[in-house]
Amino acid sequence: MHVNYFVIAVLAIALIPLIIWAYLILTELIVSRTSRKLSRNLRPWLWLLPTLSLLFVFLVYPALNTVYLSFLDAKSANFVGFANYRYIFTDPNMLIVLRNNLLWLVLFTLFCLFFGLLIALLADRVKYESVAKAFVFLPMAISFVAAGVIWKFMYEFRPAGSPQIGTVNAFLTAINPSFEPKAWLFDRSTNNLALIIVGIWMWTGFAMVILSAGLKGISEDLLEAARIDGAGEFTIFFKIILPLLLPTITVVATTLIINVLKVFDIVYVMTNGNLGTEVIANRMYKEMFNYRNYGRASAIATLLLLAIIPVMVMNIKRFNAEGSHE
């Protein structure tokens, strides 16, 4: 059975570039036989056809269809108006979901930016910069699932008195013997925070790399001139570095926001959304596969899109501004 999969995979890898190449040659043969004007008008569309058709089938049509489904009932049979949306904003469990996403949005974004900027600034002044940055960036390479396992192990809890095998509890009891070990992922007052920390651990490296590249772009002469004029490091940071870095910070923040709104894997692996830790994407998944309520699932997905639209508009504006320099 696996042999078959292998054959298919190898064929796909080898054949699809060939098929695309053959497609381009064939259409070129046909197009070049037509008039010069017609061929000029026709050719771009033939080159775009594979991309545009895939985008239409997998993104544009489904997205529009999901908006439509969000106004239908669980089985997509009857029109129910805004009932699914009313549910999202009134159901007590959904309100917890929205609250959790807001917590994620604020804490994850702020702390990733803060630690990312701090480490980028500090690493900029030492000789082992690239090593330090590699350490912090490393979690970006692994999956959220692996990170979930890693941190579930970090948060592992044993009752007080028995040896703690989880690093967090062991560390806290070691520095403070009267500390009562906690089940971080089960305690409702800490579990959301515990999950958000995993996200911060993974994504700080991303913020750091981009902010560090931005820092390198600030002219050393400018900073030196400020130092000669007697400006302290804090003044330099707040009056020169921060304002110059603001566009970069905005880019990083928007990327963090887009990602945090869709957070799914960490919660799925570590708590599966139980004990008040559910977030939008996990709820959508459950509505889809556990409750089979396609109306609500679609409404939740649409809400996610609505939250991301401002970022989308910003990206397009930024691209337009960049494009005008060409």
């Binding site: 570039p17 080159w47 579930k152 889809m288």
Partner: protein, 292 residues
């Protein structure tokens, strides 16, 4: 005079070194905090079952040393991880190669051909980069169910290809548009057709962008959980490692000896890519700061 000056400068050097101690402390602390979770996992994965349950991983650093490969042998032979590793490869490699070729053709058209709606269509592609995939899942799943694609590799290749395209087209167009126009014009004057220019000029000169994109897309697919969960529908036959580990976490509960080994197997390839091709990976992330 010169003597006192040299003392002064020496003194200020000491002061500087002294002042930078907190800097080093904070930075080294950050490195330690960021590495400890992974190191703990790595060490634990080699510890015997009976020890891992009763003492912390740091105890393994003291004698008597006791390490074993049993956990790895177990998860590979009995825990489906061997098959899942192959499944992850079977999913990720085609899902990386296919979109690059399709996107490169579109990127060439966007960069070097003139046609109405060019800018509008490209902006649509930029907008699609951030569309939450949740928006597409129910309709796509219905299409897949109708065609019998659910639970098949072909279905997930198509899905990853389509989902990867907006970013791939965006990144490659930006690169290809910067290539010198004179190069392409002179090829056209020499009578080269567009497919030939594409194959002989555009693709070879775009290798840096294609490499970054390939690594980015590969890591994205390799680490993906949600799309595999939704379109592969939980059959262990085709499940990639992320899905298998997700199931392990739920079924084993506290079976840390297997979980740690399984998690490390899934991290091995990304870590090799990370250390071997760090520059390309970072470039991909930098360019991808608009991706999802």
């Amino acid at each position: 005079m010169s003597r006192s000056r040299s003392i002064n400068s020496q003194e200020s050097r000491y002061k500087k070194a002294l002042a930078s101690i907190p800097l080093h402390l904070v930075l080294i602390l950050a490195c330690v905090v960021w590495m400890v979770p992974s190191v703990g996992l790595f060490i634990s994965s080699f510890r015997p079952k009976n020890l891992i349950a009763i003492s912390g991983w740091w105890e393994a650093l003291k004698s008597p040393f006791s390490f074993t490969l049993d956990n790895y042998i177990h998860v590979i032979s009995q825990g489906n991880m061997g098959r899942s590793f192959i499944n992850s490869l079977l999913i990720a490699v085609p899902s990386t190669i296919i979109p690059i070729f399709i996107a490169a053709a579109a990127a060439y058209a966007f960069a070097w051909m003139r046609f109405p709606l060019r800018k509008t269509l490209f902006l649509l592609v930029v907008a699609l980069i951030v569309v939450p995939l949740q928006m597409t899942m129910i309709p796509v799943l219905r299409i897949f169910n109708a065609l019998g694609f659910t639970g098949s590799f072909a279905g997930i290749w198509l899905a990853h290809t389509a989902y990867g395209l907006p970013f791939a087209v965006y990144l490659l167009r930006n690169f290809i548009a910067q290539l010198p126009g004179s190069m392409i014009e002179s090829a056209e004057i020499d009578g080269a057709s567009h497919p030939l220019i594409f194959l002989r000029l555009i693709l070879p000169t775009s290798i840096p962008a294609i490499s970054s994109l390939a690594i980015f897309q590969f890591m994205w697919v390799w680490n993906d959980l949600l799309i595999a969960l939704v379109y592969l529908g939980g059959t262990p036959d085709v499940a990639p490692m992320t899905v298998t580990i997700g199931n392990l976490v739920n079924s084993y509960g506290g079976g840390w000896e297997y979980l740690t080994a399984a998690a490390f197997i899934s991290m091995a390839l990304p870590l090799v890519v990370f250390f071997g091709l760090q520059q390309y990976f970072v470039k991909g992330v930098l360019a991808g700061s608009v991706k999802e």
